[in-house]
Amino acid sequence: MLCVRHLRKVYEASGRSVEAVHDVDFSLRQGELVCVVGPSGAGKTTILRCISGLLTPTSGEVVLDGRRVDGPPEGMAVVFQDYGRSLFPWMKVRQNVELPLREKGLRGPERRRLVDQSLEAVGLAAAANAYPWQLSGGMQQRVAIARAVAYEPEVLLMDEPFASVDAQTRAELEDLVRSLWTRLGVTIVFVTHDIDESVYLGERVIVLSASPTVVMEDVPIDLDAVRDQLTTRSEPRFGQLRTRVYELIQKAKEGGQPASPQLSTPSR
Amino acid sequence: MRASRARYRGVVGFLALLALWEVLPVGGVIPARYFPPLHEVMAAMADNVADRQFWSAVGDTTQSWFIGLVVAFVAAALVGLVLGSVPILWRYVDSTIEFLRPIPSVALIPLAVLMFGIDMKSALLLIVYAAFWQILIQVLYGVKDVDPVALDTARVFGFSRWSQIRHVSWPTALPYVITGFRLGASVALVLAVTAELVIGNPGIGHEIALAESALALPEMYSLVITAGVMGVLINQLTRLVERRALHWHQSVRSEA
């Protein structure tokens, strides 16, 4: 449903060209939750921006539902890492969440329903009439998530959304993402640098190499569908998968390449 | 490379403007009797540059600008530092200044004329009044910005009041003081020329008034441009001073 085909991105800056992403290729089926990890500077954000249409790749393409992505497509929502800057400070929480829905052309009552529902789902029903800067960091990120969810997107992109949030809040938000995903069945691409987080959340973990980036390996996560911060993270299988991903990242940092040509396949 | 492209475009844009100025009046699009074409104005300018009276007028304007600015600066710096160092006054200063500041300097023109006639002192009254407020506000921003913890530390270490000012307050306030100087310089020019225009004391403004009443339009426009050039020069000069003085301050100054 979402295919990233031989994505390549070269940045030109003052006479020098830097190949940030060399050849990244993976796909997602409808309703999958896939995590993308890689060492620092692996071009994770570049890849996400290409998928979202905010950035044009140098070569290769992104195909969503059979249509080539050329500028932000319909039915796609993004949650950024810097939540503080992505919410409009002159609008209340409710208005922030409602804004994309107006653009979608939905009518008043319908919009209100979706806004109420999504604020409820992220646990911020009481904060609807506050301004974003009156809320804590974790709450602001929830607002951004609520905004994305209310939009009822087909694909949700999340760019290291919990990197700037404290550990406790992060755990809550991770669970929130999984519960929303289970309820709504939306396809999610979750970029993170946190290895544990990627294994905990994903059905698959795509591990990237260092720049110029390629896919190191596509690791299927065969943990239970129902996950829990306490129990899942102490399972032996979790530890094994975590170690696998960790090893791959270490190898990537040392400039390693994938063991064999990687063809990324959707999980069963 | 980017910067030079921007500069190139800037030059092109400016030249395009000049070209329009020549073409539109000549082509009759703008009535040439109100708006002489560029070459006539340039000719008037060339005449001016060779004319001693012109330079004498420039000198007069510059003189009143400079004296007014210096007086305003010294007064504002002193008042600002004193106010900043006396906590009691501090609470009322803000609102009072917001109250007094919007009183337009030009309201004093009749008084100035009455008291000093067309002497330079009339212009000075206006220039000093206007520039003083401009600079004072900046000085107060600067004094407000002083870190109270740093001041406390100084006091605990036994710094005298004067030492505190010299070593803590002054360095913090300096960037603001210099910005105030820059803004004050520009206001001072406006008032200097305005005073000459309305009151008639010698200077560029007065020359413009004379040219207007004689309907010597190319002359008038050339003088207007002269005023503009003076404005640009003063701007560049004060920015240069700002950059130089603050260059040493980058380490002291917090993130802008």
Binding site: S52, L54, P72, E74, M76, A77, V78, F80, F88, P89, W90, L99, P100, E103, Y131, W133 | R5, A6, R9, G10, V12, G13, F14, L17, Y34, F35, Y92, D94, S95, T96, E98, F99, P102, I103, P104, V106, A107, I109, P110, L111, L114, M115, L189, V193, T194, L197, V198, G205, A209, A211, E212, L217, M220, Y221, V224, I225, G228, V229, G231, V232
Partner: protein
């Protein structure tokens, strides 16, 4: 209850020192025989006599109307020209030097120019005010639009918010702190231009009237005019402040939280 005490405290802060100064002026000038500085009492009498008459409609109202017209035209033009320039680096590159030059011309020298072009009437005065006070507003609008947070722009791109909606919801709101600062400066320039244009060449208006008082040596009346101008300056500044508070309510709060 706290709100009332708060408001009272704020008012005291604002008016205390001016009130003290005023009383000092009154007391110190009580027995003044100076030609230039008559007793404040006389000035106040002249104030009542002069301005609470049909000068109100003959002079004060026309002045203020011209001021309003010039100022509002400048605001509109600043937005119309400034927003596109803020969006396009190319356009900015071309326009910047020319704009910097125009901005450096002391606005009052345009008064004779406009006098020549459109005579002594209202049009030239409104034009002078507009042409003079537009520069800070224009430059601030350009800067405000240019520096809109890129993440907010990305958000609008993602949710496909473009065109007029984007202008209303993002661009103008994000740039409003800058624009309003420009408006403040523009207002004080506008007031100066209103007064000067009337002092230089006019048949009515506040500036004209006050200069007439000076020329006919009606000193208390002249002072009353100066007082009036001061009051108008302060009143307009307060109005601007109220406007700022309404438009930028969110900004104050957001800035406090850093």
């Amino acid at each position: 209850m706290a709100g009332v005490t708060n408001a009272f405290q704020r008012l005291t802060k604002i008016f205390l020192v001016p009130a003290v100064l005023f009383v000092a002026w009154f007391a110190s000038s009580r027995d003044s025989t100076s030609f230039f500085f008559p007793p404040l009492r006389k000035i106040l009498e002249a104030f009542a006599d002069t301005w609470f008459s049909d000068r109100w409609s003959a002079d004060i109202v026309p002045s203020l109307l011209r001021l309003a017209a010039g100022f509002l035209i400048a605001v509109a033009l600043a937005l119309v020209i400034g927003v596109p320039l803020g969006h396009s680096k190319r356009a900015r590159d071309y326009a910047e030097p020319a704009l910097e030059f125009f901005r450096a011309i002391p606005p009052t020298v345009m008064i004779p120019v406009l006098l020549v072009i459109s005579g002594v009437g209202d049009t030239s005065k409104v034009a002078v005010i507009a042409f003079g006070c537009i520069w800070p507003m224009l430059l601030n609008t350009i800067e405000g639009v240019r520096s809109v947070d890129s993440l907010l722009k990305d958000t609008c791109d993602i949710y496909r918010i473009h065109g007029l909606t984007r202008l209303r919801v993002l661009t103008l709101r994000a740039a409003s702190p800058q624009i309003v600062t420009g408006m403040r400066t523009g207002l004080s320039i506008a007031i100066i231009l209103m007064v000067i244009s009337e002092m230089f060449a006019s048949k009515d208006g506040l500036g004209f009237t006050i200069i007439q008082f000076q020329r006919t040596f009606s000193i208390p009346e002249m002072w009353s005019g100066i007082l009036l101008l001061g009051m108008i300056g302060v009143a307009l500044s307060l109005l601007m402040r109220v406007f700022e508070m309404v438009v930028l309510r969110w900004y104050e709060g957001a800035r406090e939280r850093g």
